[in-house]
Symmetry: C2
Subunit: 469 residues, 2 copies
Amino acid sequence: MTKPEIHQSLQSAFQIIEQLLGPERLFVDPVTVEAYAADQTPQRCVPAGVIFPHSHEDVMNLVCVANEYKLPLVARGGGTGNVGGALPVPGALVVSFEHMDRILEFDVDNRVMVVQSGAITAEIDALARSRGLFYPPDPGSAAYCRIGGNIAMNAAGPHSLKYGVTRDYVLGLRAVAGDGKSLRTGCRTSKGVVGYDLTRLLVGSEGTLALVTEAILRLLPLPATSATLQACYKNSAGACAAVSRVMTQPVIPAVLEFLDGAALNAVREARAVADLSTETGAMLIAEVDGAPAEVARQAQALVVALRGPGLIQLKQADTPEAITALWAARHSLSHAVKRLAPLKINEDVVVPVSRLAALVARIESFAQTYRLIIVAFGHAGNGNLHVNLMVDPDNLREMLRAQLCLRELFAAVLAFGGTLSGEHGIGSEKRQFVPLEIQSETLALMRAIKQQFDPNGILNPGKLFPDPL
Amino acid sequence: MTKPEIHQSLQSAFQIIEQLLGPERLFVDPVTVEAYAADQTPQRCVPAGVIFPHSHEDVMNLVCVANEYKLPLVARGGGTGNVGGALPVPGALVVSFEHMDRILEFDVDNRVMVVQSGAITAEIDALARSRGLFYPPDPGSAAYCRIGGNIAMNAAGPHSLKYGVTRDYVLGLRAVAGDGKSLRTGCRTSKGVVGYDLTRLLVGSEGTLALVTEAILRLLPLPATSATLQACYKNSAGACAAVSRVMTQPVIPAVLEFLDGAALNAVREARAVADLSTETGAMLIAEVDGAPAEVARQAQALVVALRGPGLIQLKQADTPEAITALWAARHSLSHAVKRLAPLKINEDVVVPVSRLAALVARIESFAQTYRLIIVAFGHAGNGNLHVNLMVDPDNLREMLRAQLCLRELFAAVLAFGGTLSGEHGIGSEKRQFVPLEIQSETLALMRAIKQQFDPNGILNPGKLFPDPL
């Protein structure tokens, strides 16, 4: 089709969508489309329109029209993703689930909540907590991200160490496949083995197979209390050795976070924390939870494991205020790191926890070799590090060094038996690296599955998969 | 093809298989094929041969030949399945993984074990325990079932209440798809989100998508100690009310098992337990585990929750001998129940735990209405009951009543928001009932996925899916 033909076809599709979904659902004005042109990646692409469905039936109608007109649909929750998973492609319609944010059912006795996919993660958790339960997955963006986005990316957070990831809390889904099929997957009980596990196939599929409209979530009893430990070390080697000691003794912490020297420097420069000693070159933050006596016992076990060569200081907090103070360095990081350079290339690698020390040492050597500021922090107990290459996009030599560094980082991660992403996903940003990890035959099978759900390729094109050779 | 042609084609396929895999791998003698004609279901079908691969490459070669000759392959672990998942079809080759039973790697520091799919589940667990770890899924057949079968059916057991099912402990797989593609899925770290989750798609797929050759398993630290409680109630209503109370207070038991009156009668008739009072009409067995002080606290919480109307007796055991004694009734059940009738129709339904009392009441009324002995017991904390219809296959009227009863049982389970199988799977035995639970569009998508893995339909035909209309 020529450009005018495409335009006409789009107008015709939009008219039908407005007829089917009603007024005030589809927005094509410049302010709206600009607002939905990006997620938390630096890329931008202005979509043709933004649609706000109100129901599963709306989504069914939308997918039907989109297939007819070969109109790409890019699902979007809170737009908080780190890899361009919600980045539009030219001519696409962004499907925002912000108006499908209701909690449909809260079955306290069975510890189950049924929610629309636009429900905000923290609101799900808050409602659960009001009845002595909680929703464990806790991505950093929980206050404004949406459960549909969490499901798309299989989101996780610090508490995933003890409690697992989004996948572990999704019992069943309602969704519309790319071909328009209306799906119900899984069940609402804690066990169920009837048919293929389409629920977990959809979790982490980044909006490329189906648009999720509802989810049945599993909740857990809220631990009575928790305690937080902060351990400061001379350097990363000391901190990583402590991570190994913690993760080979029997108490699994709820949280075990790591901050490297560059991260602490960023915190210092942002003057975010008052009492960070100059000699501290790495930090661990650990949390244990449970009944009070159990928390005391677990904290004691962690104190023993955290002690060792290079430990400078070990603090424990049991009150909410004191706990907040110990977390200050970690919580200020996101803001503090942004001050270091105009652009943050944000990686999310994972290695077996016994290889964490080796990975961190390699990252430190990469920073030297490639003359880059690299800030590494993250979920040490899972071996999951956020490796941030701080660069100036206008400095082309630095950008080239960053690309070379990334390649070497990924090669190291895979050589250590790790994976390229622990919780952020692939999106548009990492897809060229997928063949480093997934063998071509396995990848071909994933493409074949995609084809079954979405034969016209209208759902989130240009995401998750590398471009075919 | 005519019968002689089929025979000739089979002989030709067998010759190639022997050439590729070597001698002493393929058995077609009457004794062997008879021994592999059934799993734990009453159905039998003598296969054309039984093959014992020794490596992933053997399996690749086998699948290649099977595609060429359209030879059905039926994967088999320990042959302990309850639904005919390993039941041969006419002309099929049973692929026994008994000779692929090695533990390839035990990475204690990262709590990971890499095993061949024929490894015996209890041996995996025993090795883990030798280093202070354990493999949580504990099907009743753990002593002789094999991990590949557990993966095929997403097996579970009593401890799934606290620890989850096989799916939750499989990090990655090596497998050969039905079309011969060699696959590596997942990763060996506790987090990883690169590509579609083929690992969980294969778990529970009952050997219909791929033949699993290796698995990367996650292990947990072994709890220091445990305590067991046995609560005897006048009737099932009292026991089920106690299950609700246990499952709405914050302590999640490691185990919460239920035995109904008919189960206890079977135990009494088998004289399996000495001290079972005549007035006991239902029993619960609960276990808590953890550090000693924590076990005491949890046990106390359960004692409070287990007390209530209808409680006759509550015993606690902390020593291995005393624990074994409290479990005697439950452990004798399998044998005791078989004495009741020539045939056990063994169901494995699940309902939300708050509906367990209603389900048990319905089962009691079904026993009356259909004049059947029905024995119900199982994993009450998950709402997962094994409902056994004890019948004489030669009594056609009784068999007809049993069929009518089953239909009504399934309708009740689904009306309660439950599922038809919690851990046994579908196999050949339950597949006619799948459309009661899974909508036709969702089922069509499962078939489409099957087609991508196994275009010639050679892997475990006649399982999991109902016959097409």
